[in-house]
């Protein structure tokens, strides 16, 4: 694997990638500050950092999606001008994007050859491509049907198509941007095995993630980014999750949430046989039956898209039930029959939706406008039939100080807050109404580690105050550290319940993939 290119440095192995002084601004945002990075050939190199630390921007620059304002890129010791994806491909860089860059209506084969068709008429190239795909599949054990339509494949397989695409283009360096966000733990394990195979074949892998566990498990070296700057480089074997998280945040962070025993009391929410259909008439929630008691946090785990979003939205009153009933403190509140989001809020149900920008707030609003959304009818916010802006400003200021929202300016546009601060404002709006039941979806999506700690503490505080909490999250770590009981959803059905004390990642992962809970536990017992 020794390839000599640099004229002056004969004898030394050139790093596969070397970035020198990469600098990039988007308007006022300084996304990358004079980044230096060396990635050794034939290694798996992790890049960690909080959301917004500049990891994705840096990799987009390397892949030619953006151009750096300053700095140079060297591949195998040679200075490269990368002005577009085609340049990156030409020097052997391939990228698996966080949001897959696939044409869902195309077959696997068509997706793979897009851009490297091998002739103006497809027929000539296609057969050659088919042979080449077979070879790649054998070599890297990436089994996949070349004629399958990509939209019909699971996300795990779609990701494999992305990897194949890069390999087909002769990639020697593969960049993966947050590759495990949409995978079950088992699929993620499979991915890491694939990455190991790639490494054995001499490829170089750059893995971008905010999950420290993956860094520790899969990488040889790791670089840490914080607020646009590269703050540290470590050998994975010589560091620890604690050290990395401290480097990411810039201060000590409690990785494990400390909380006391739950003291569940009376049943607050009783869901019986609930079914929810989407707009196309497809049944997304199938016969869900469960309860949530006062003083406990019930977590719903599952791979994104398995009905948990629809369940949460139905309980929040923004989707109708097709079948089944929902009771709140013994009263029927089945969504749809005269029970909408406003009615539920009047009855003491607070809802923090999963998608902050689409459902929880209007980003074009000021913070104080966002802070009363859904409660604008409250007499406290009214004066003579008009909104009482003084009272609203005061209430918003109170929320901001209570939930540590920064900057604490009620007139600032919601879009100008960081994700974590937006989320804290939404949580403040909902929690400070002192609801009976808190429905909360993905409370820490796109939120930095410091704010995660805070948000988790507030949710536990809700529980300790004797409120019922239903938590939907695709982050297993979050579910396991917050919830007292865990329900697992797969394909719209709740396939089992696990007490938090008995939960571990393997059992939950198997259940998320649809394995019967008893079998999952048995399989775990054997392992």
């Amino acid at each position: 694997m020794h390839q000599m290119h640099g004229a002056g440095e004969t004898g030394a192995v050139q790093p596969a990638i070397e970035l020198r002084g990469i600098d990039k601004r988007f308007g006022a945002v300084h996304a990358n500050k004079e980044i230096d990075l060396k990635v050794d050939k034939g290694t798996i190199h992790g890049i960690v950092g909080e959301n917004g630390a500049g990891k994705s921007t840096l990799m987009s620059i390397l892949y030619g999606f953006y151009q750096a304002d300053a700095g140079t890129i060297h591949v195998d010791g040679k200075l490269c001008e990368i002005n577009g994806s085609e340049d990156a491909i030409a020097v052997g860089i391939g990228m698996v994007h966080q949001h897959f860059m696939l044409v869902e209506t195309f077959s696997v084969l068509e997706n793979v050859i897009l851009g490297v068709e091998g002739g103006a008429v497809l027929r000539d190239g296609v057969e050659k491509a088919r042979e080449e795909l077979k070879r790649l599949e054998r070599e890297y054990s990436l089994n996949i049907d070349p004629d399958a339509i990509v939209g019909d494949l699971s996300v795990g397989l779609q990701q494999r198509v992305e990897i194949l695409k890069a390999l087909y283009r002769g990639a020697e360096i593969l960049i993966l941007d947050e590759p495990t966000g949409v995978l079950t733990p088992q699929e993620a394990d499979h991915l890491f095995r694939i990455l190991d195979t790639l490494k054995e074949q001499g490829k170089t892998v750059v893995l971008i993630t905010h999950k420290l566990r993956e860094i520790m498990a899969a990488t040889d070296n790791v670089s840490v980014m914080r607020q646009g700057a590269m703050v540290a480089h470590r050998k994975t074997a010589e560091t620890s999750p604690e050290e990395l998280s401290e480097l990411m945040v810039g201060r000590k962070v409690l990785l494990r949430l400390e909380k006391g025993e739950a003291k569940p009391a009376a049943t607050v929410l009783k869901v019986d046989n609930l079914c929810v259909d989407n707009a196309q008439g497809v049944r997304k929630v199938k016969n869900a039956t469960f309860t949530v008691r006062a003083g406990e946090i019930v977590g719903i785990a599952g791979v994104s898209g398995n009905g948990q979003s629809e369940l949460l939205e139905a309980l929040g009153g923004i989707r109708s039930a097709s079948e089944g009933t929902v009771e709140l403190n013994g009263q029927d509140v089945t969504p749809g029959k005269g029970v909408d989001a406003a009615e539920l809020r009047r009855r003491g149900v607070a809802h923090v939706p999963e998608d902050r920008h689409r459902m929880a707030m209007v980003t074009a609003f000021s913070a104080k406008e966002a802070a009363i959304l859904g409660y604008e009818d409250d007499p406290a916010y009214q004066k003579g039939g008009l909104l009482d802006w003084d009272a609203i400003s005061a209430a918003t200021a109170n929320m901001m100080s209570e939930f540590d929202v920064r900057p604490d300016n009620p007139d600032l546009k919601a879009a100008n807050f960081s994700g974590g601060n937006q989320q804290k404002l939404v949580l403040a709006r909902e929690i400070m109404r002192d609801p009976e039941l808190l429905l909360v979806g993905q409370p820490t999506r796109g939120v930095d580690i410091g704010a995660i700690e805070f948000i988790h503490k507030r949710i536990v505080a809700m529980r300790d105050a004797g409120k019922a909490v239903l938590l939907v999250s695709v982050e297993l770590d979050e579910i396991m550290s917050l919830a007292d009981r865990i329900l697992v959803m797969c394909d719209g059905a709740i396939i089992g319940e696990v007490a938090a004390s008995e939960a571990n990642e393997r059992v939950l992962g198997l259940m998320m993939a649809g394995v019967d809970p008893n079998e999952a536990k048995a399989a775990e017992g054997q392992a």
Binding site: F26, Y63, F65, Y66, G84, S85, E86, D87, A88, I89, M95, H97, H99, M101, L102, V103, E104, T105, F106, E110, N111, I113, L114, G115, V116, E117, G119, A120, V121, L122, R123, G125, K165
Partner: protein, 323 residues
Amino acid sequence: MDTFQLIILLLDATLRTSTPLILAALAGMFSERSGTINLALEGMMLGGAFSAAAVAFYVGSPWVGLLAAIATTIALSLLHGFACITHKGNQVVSGMAINILMSGLTALVGIALFAQGGKTPALDKGSRFQPITFPGADAVQDVPVLGLIYSELLSGHNILVYVAFLAVPAAWWVMYRTRFGLRLRAVGENPGAVDTAGIGVVAMRYRAVICSGVLVGMSGAYLSTAQGASFLQDMTAGKGYIALAAMVFGKWRPFPALAACLLFGFLDAAATRLQGVVLPGIGEVPVQLVQALPYILTVILLAGFIGRAIPPKALGRAYVKER
């Protein structure tokens, strides 16, 4: 006139009335499959029709007229592309703007050049596309059934009719069997995938709207220099929109779009045929009703029957790199 002959004549008229729809529907398909909504078909068709008639009148050749029509519609397509692709403007607004612009501009220039109230002067035989008679068409005319089909239905159309029908398999081949087609369809579904594959999204979309321009130019020229003998103000009378509807009805695919165009063309031809005809049990069919049929059908089909047509995913959305 016996029933069979009537049917043949009706189908013959169907071919003639559906020709501009087919060309325009294919034009729409190329544009929309690449992600650019092309509501401007109506205005482009009008512009093409005017240029063709005006130039054919001065030069005395329908071919030069055709080239002028195509040049006009390519220019309009580039304008549409400049607004929608380069500047990421609202594609519906840009399309409507072109339609309104061309409705007025063709009349204005027509009056300025010819002073005939917006019309262009009638074209003589040599300046129009003439019917092509197939060899032996006259000879077999009296052979029962097949003779009439050959001589009336197949033979005796102008070149653009044949071009339109050949354009359908050609468009299919380009769309599904060539590199260009693969990339074009990809850019309308997920421009990000095209960009990361190292292909320019903007260039790809421009090439698609240029294809669109070429086809709709032929459609315009057909109206004024083949089917008709001059340009009349607003002579397209909604054909651009009907073509667009046919394309949507055909789910953005060439052959189903052809079928939809033939259906609309048939209704149009039937409307002409049914004028003054007394149908048993119904009496004389009101002409207005029959003339309104294609439009009524469009509304019904679009509202009810094609609910599940899935448009290209990135249709109507300018490509902005994510941050």
